[in-house]
């Protein structure tokens, strides 16, 4: 009987967690669409949404392709509740092409691709002093291109 109750509680908690994570992801998309995409102007959003809820100490990365002859804006947009984050753009040889650190944050980086190039954006959220409250917030990595 007790075991059955534990299973039920476990299932209910898993369901609540799933609902909360879907809700958080929806909020993240809504935040990115309404608060971040407009910041890409005059570049046109390339329709690829890369975003998730991150907590202090977590990292995210995405591989991006920059096509020859195109101009791009790479943007890392963070919900204010999370505070500032660190992010960098690294090339295929792991050389840092651009870096933005939390104490001197930049929201975007513009570049021109002379040849088609693959690069990786890496975002990491600095650890915060231990408190009872863990702040989790949306981080979106967006790309815009010039027509």
């Amino acid at each position: 009987m007790t075991q059955r109750r534990h299973t039920l509680v476990g299932t209910a908690m898993a369901a609540v967690f799933l609902v909360l994570s879907i809700g958080a992801q929806a909020q993240c998309r809504s935040f990115a669409k309404n608060k971040c995409v407009p910041g890409l102007a005059p570049y046109k959003f390339n329709e690829s949404f890369n975003g998730a809820q991150l907590a202090p100490g977590e990292e995210a990365e995405v591989q991006l392709t920059f096509l020859a002859g195109q101009e791009y804006r790479v943007m890392v947009c963070v919900h204010p509740i999370l505070g500032e984050v660190n992010w960098k753009l690294v090339d295929a040889d792991n050389k840092v092409v651009f870096e933005s650190l939390a104490d001197e944050p930049k929201t975007h980086f513009d570049l021109k691709a002379a040849g088609t190039t693959r690069m990786k954006v890496v975002v990491w959220v600095p650890e915060r002093p231990k408190t009872d409250m863990v702040h989790v917030g949306c981080v979106a990595i967006l790309t815009g291109f010039k027509e």
């Binding site: 799933l18 994570s21 879907i22 992801q25 929806a26 998309r29 669409k33 046109k44 959003f45 390339n46 329709e47 690829s48 949404f49 890369n50 975003g51 998730a52 991150l54 100490g57 977590e58 990292e59 995210a60 990365e61 995405v62 591989q63 991006l64 392709t65 920059f66 096509l67 020859a68 002859g69 195109q70 101009e71 090339d91 295929a92 040889d93 050389k95 092409v97 651009f98 980086f109 513009d110 570049l111 021109k112 691709a113 002379a114 040849g115 088609t116 190039t117 693959r118 690069m119 990595i141 291109f145 027509e147």
Partner: protein
């Protein structure tokens, strides 16, 4: 300055015919199991690092074709009459992507009438997939209001597909979303290869060669649903195409440089070495895959 809205009766009549052609009762539904993203996301969270997968942008591909001097070819997009053929969810999802790419192609080339046709078909397929809150009459009306404002139209198209993708993912149907991206990418490559083969130029070849990386990203994305039976066939199609891209030149390396205050990457890159044989092989294979999807 705001200009008064003029009625566009020919356009409205044509759209009405199309909507009526794309209307009717929703066909019987094949059930697709929800994706397995929750487990995957859990695994990613446990490692503390989240990996995102870029999705290809048919709109960027269409914009590049236009910049390369390509003209709009009315014969390339999927026939709007085909929309009635798609009665199972996997085909509906693939062709929602196909018509989405056609919509981007038509919109980028300022083909307003055709843009509305493909919107109607996309709406019909979205409805069949149960995405009624996003692609609805209000979307059509908003597009009709901006039909002569290309930038607004492109923004509405982009925003609508963003919302469809979000709706599917938030409802545990990531596999449907993945199928939509596959359909969109295949249609974009089909159009690009047809255009490049008909009017060969170094830039058009480059644009076809560039799709190698979008394909790699797409395979990585679809590969995150290894147990989903609906994605097995399309993943095999993508891998078959990847084999044909295997010997196409790699991306540029080299130092980033500064040019008038702008960072330039990939300087000194060789031109894409896509041979005639490679181009034709990719064109024929993608035409075959696309033919399977639209028929």
């Amino acid at each position: 300055m705001h200009r008064p809205l003029k009625p566009r009766w020919p356009a409205l009549a044509a759209i009405a015919v199309l909507i009526s052609a794309c209307g009717g009762d929703a066909p019987p539904q094949e059930t697709l199991n929800p994706g397995t993203a929750d487990g995957l996301e859990d695994a990613r969270q446990r490692t503390g690092r989240k990996i995102f997968y870029s999705i290809p942008s048919p709109m960027e591909t269409a914009a590049l074709l236009k910049r390369a001097g390509a003209a709009y070819d009315h014969g390339l997009p999927n026939d709007v009459k085909n929309v009635d053929r798609y009665t199972v969810a996997s085909k509906q999802a693939l062709n929602l992507g196909v018509y989405g790419a056609d919509l981007s192609y038509a919109s980028v080339f300022n083909q307003t009438q055709e843009s509305m046709f493909y919107t109607s078909c996309s709406k019909r397929l979205a409805e069949s997939l149960g995405v009624t809150d996003v692609f609805n009459e209000a979307t059509l009306e908003r597009m009709e209001r901006h039909v002569n404002d290309r930038d607004s139209l492109l923004n509405i198209v982009s925003s609508t597909y963003w919302d469809v993708d979000a709706y599917l993912k938030e409802n545990g149907r990531e596999n449907i979303s993945a199928l939509m991206f596959i359909g969109g990418w295949v249609e974009g490559l089909y159009i690009a290869t047809q255009v490049a083969a008909a009017k060969p130029s170094a830039e058009l070849r480059q644009r076809v060669a560039d799709q190698k990386y979008a394909l790699e990203d797409l395979i990585d994305l679809v590969g995150t649903y290894p147990d989903d039976p609906t994605l097995v066939g399309p993943l095999a199609d993508l891998r078959a195409l990847a084999d044909l891209f295997a010997d196409v030149g790699g991306p540029a390396g080299g130092e980033a440089t500064q040019e008038n205050g702008v960072t330039v990457v990939g300087a000194g890159a060789p031109a894409a070495d896509l041979t005639d044989e490679q181009l034709l092989a990719i064109r024929d294979k993608v035409a075959q895959v696309r033919n399977d999807y639209i028929n």
